[in-house]
Symmetry: C2
Subunit: 401 residues, 2 copies
Amino acid sequence: MSVIRVDVEAPDRRAEAIRREADEPRSPLVRFGLDKPLRLDAGVDLAPFQVAYMTYGELDQRRANAILICHALSGDQHVASDHPVTKKPGWWETMVGPGKPIDTNRFFVICPNVLGGCMGTTGPASCNPATGEPYGLSLPVVTVRDMVRSQAMLLDHLGIESLLCVTGGSIGGMQALQWVASYPERVFAALPLATAARHSAQNIAFHEVGRQAVMADPDWKGGRYLVEGTNPSRGLAVARMAAHITYLSDAALHRKFGRRLQDRETPTFGFDADFQVESYLRHQGSIFVERFDANSYLYITRAMDYFDLAADYGGVLANAFKGTRSRLCVVSFTSDWLFPTSDARQIVHALNAAGASVSFAEIESDKGHDAFLLEEPELFAITRGFLEAAARARGLPPAKG
Amino acid sequence: MSVIRVDVEAPDRRAEAIRREADEPRSPLVRFGLDKPLRLDAGVDLAPFQVAYMTYGELDQRRANAILICHALSGDQHVASDHPVTKKPGWWETMVGPGKPIDTNRFFVICPNVLGGCMGTTGPASCNPATGEPYGLSLPVVTVRDMVRSQAMLLDHLGIESLLCVTGGSIGGMQALQWVASYPERVFAALPLATAARHSAQNIAFHEVGRQAVMADPDWKGGRYLVEGTNPSRGLAVARMAAHITYLSDAALHRKFGRRLQDRETPTFGFDADFQVESYLRHQGSIFVERFDANSYLYITRAMDYFDLAADYGGVLANAFKGTRSRLCVVSFTSDWLFPTSDARQIVHALNAAGASVSFAEIESDKGHDAFLLEEPELFAITRGFLEAAARARGLPPAKG
C-alpha cells in the first residue's frame, strides 16, 4: 500500500517509551515543587514541574560564559551529543562543540528541552501528579513567554545570574527575543536566527493544517492516546510532511530532487512514491513519529501561533526592547519564506527605535528556513565574530590558540 | 472537540450521492462505447467511458466560435451556471457569461468535467462495468494528455473541428498547453493562465502531502470507501486545507485575516479556531468534502505531478510547439508562488524559440494563485482583447453594441 510506513504495530510499547522519556529523561533534570510554581500566561500555576536540559563545557568562575540555546519546534536538549532515542548526532553539532562557532572549550552551553516538549521538560506526555496519567490536553496551553520563564527558573537553579548570550532559530529565536524583553538584565547578548516578533497568518495556517492532521487521526483519541494505548502516527507524519516543505525552498527542492524518479526509469502510473521528493518526504514523516509526541506538536505550534511580542507592549514592538542594554545580532536567510527577511527587519527597526545595539545579517542561501541548522559558513563566521565581541566586551579571557 | 466539522454521520448517503453524480450527472453527457476506447498514457484502453460537459451560448454556422474551458483541480463543468450539488454560482461567472470577457452572446463555450473527475466524466467514482462497482484505484492513472484526448473526442462528437480558443488556469492551463502541442491544427488561439509546462518539485511535494492525508484516513479503505460505505472526509479536508494555503499568498492572508481572532476578544489558550485564518481554513476543508470525491483528488493531483510537456519532446519544450500556427497569450500573477512568473516565462521562451505568436502578461496582484478565479480587471481586459483579436483574425462578425 502506498502510504507512509509508520510503526503502528506496537502502540503500547511506543506509548510506554514516550511516557518514560517525558518523566525520566536521559539527561540532567531539575524538579520544581509545589512551592515553586510556574505562573502560566493561561492564568494558572503549573506545579510541580520539571525541566530537562543538557550542558556542554564548563561554567567559569565569574559565571559569565554561559550561552543558552533554545531549540526549535522539533528539536530538543541534545544539541551537541547523540540523541538517546535515535542515536543520531546532536541537531546542531555543526555549530556547537569544541572549536566550533559556539565553542564549548570556551563557553558553558545550556540547552533545555522546551516547556510543552516531550523529552523531559513538563509537557502533555508528562505524568499529571493529580491523576497519575499523562496530561494530554489537560495541560494548559503554554506560550513562548512561559517557556522563557521556565528557563529563567532553570538558570536560577544553576546559579547563573546572567547569560553571555541566548540564541536559537525559529521558535528558538522567538525565545531569544522574549528573553531580551522579559529579562533584559540577564541577557548580555542575543542572537535570534530565522525568526519573527510575531507569527504570520500564513504560518498560523500551516500550523493549523498540521494540528488538524493530528486531530483527524482516529488514534489521537481526543489527546488521550497514551492512556488508550494508541498513537496518531499517521496524522503526525502528515503534519510533519507538510511542515517540512515549508522549512525548505522551491530552489532547494529543485536542486535536491527536481522531477527525478525514485529507483525507477519510468513513472509507474500509480500512487507509489514515484518521485524522489515524495520518497524523501515520506521518510521525514516516518522518522519524526518515532521520536516525537503528537500532543507536544500541538502545544509547541500553538505557542508559536500565539507569539506576538508587540502585543504585550501596547502593540509597539520597540517598547518590548525599551532601555535594554543587551546587544543583538539578528540573522535571516534570503530563501526563508516562513520567516522572511522582512520579519527580521521589523525586529531590527524596533531595536533601532529602542536605541539598542543591534547588527543585522541577511545571509544568501537557497536552503530555506532550515538554513540555520545547516552548513552555512557565513552563519558560522557571524556567530563566531558576534560571540567573540560579546566575550571581549564582558571581559572574558581571549580564545586560546 | 476542536476538529474540522465534516458530515461523517451519513457516509452511506454520501457514497450514494457521489456514485450517482459520477454515473448520472446533472449535465449533458456523451458515452463512448467499446468501439471508441480512450488510449491512456498508462498503456491501456479505457472503454466504455463518458464525458460530462456544459455548454453556454450558441455554435455559429461556421462552427468557428467555440471556446473550450478546462477547469482546475477542484472545479467542474459548471463554469457559468449554478452547481447542482452546492447550488452556488458557477466557478467562473465573473469571466464567462453574456457580456462577460468570455462572452456567451458571441461565443459557444464548452466546459467538460475532467477525466478522473467526479462530476460525470469517467473517474474513480464511476461504475466499472466489469465489476458493477466504482473503479476506485483500479482506474488507471490518467495524465493531462489523456484528459485532452478525451476532450478531443468530445469535440468530435459535437462536430467541432477547431476551437477559436482553449483556456484555463492551473491544471486547466496545462491542458491548454497540451492542446496546442497535441492538436495544433485544432487550436486557433490558447490562453493558459497561472500555469507551467511542468510541475515543480515543491508542487509535487504539496500534492503528496494531500494524498497522504487522504490515504492516512482509515475510512479511505485502500480506495474502496464507496463500496465499504465509508468516506475519508477528515483526510480530504486536511488535504484541502493544506492546498488552500498554497492557492493564496502571505500578503493576501495577512490582508484578509492578519492575526485577528474569531468571535472573541482574547485567545482561549486552547486548540479551538482562535484565529480567523484557522476558522476560514476549516470551513474550506469542510465544504470541499461535501462535493468532491477523495479518489478524484488523488487522480487529478497525480496527473498534475506527471505533467512535463518537454519530456514528450526530447526534453526540449520548444519542440512541443514546433510549427504551431496557434496564437497564444500566457498570463501569470506576481504573488502566485505555486506557478510563479518564472514558469510562465519558460513557456513564453519556448514559444518564441518555436517561432509561435505569443504575448505575455504578468499581472500585479496580491491574491496568489487563485487570482485567475477572482475579480481581476486586468485579466478581464486581457482576455477580452485577446479573444476580440482572435475572433477578428478568424473572420467572426464584430461584437454587437
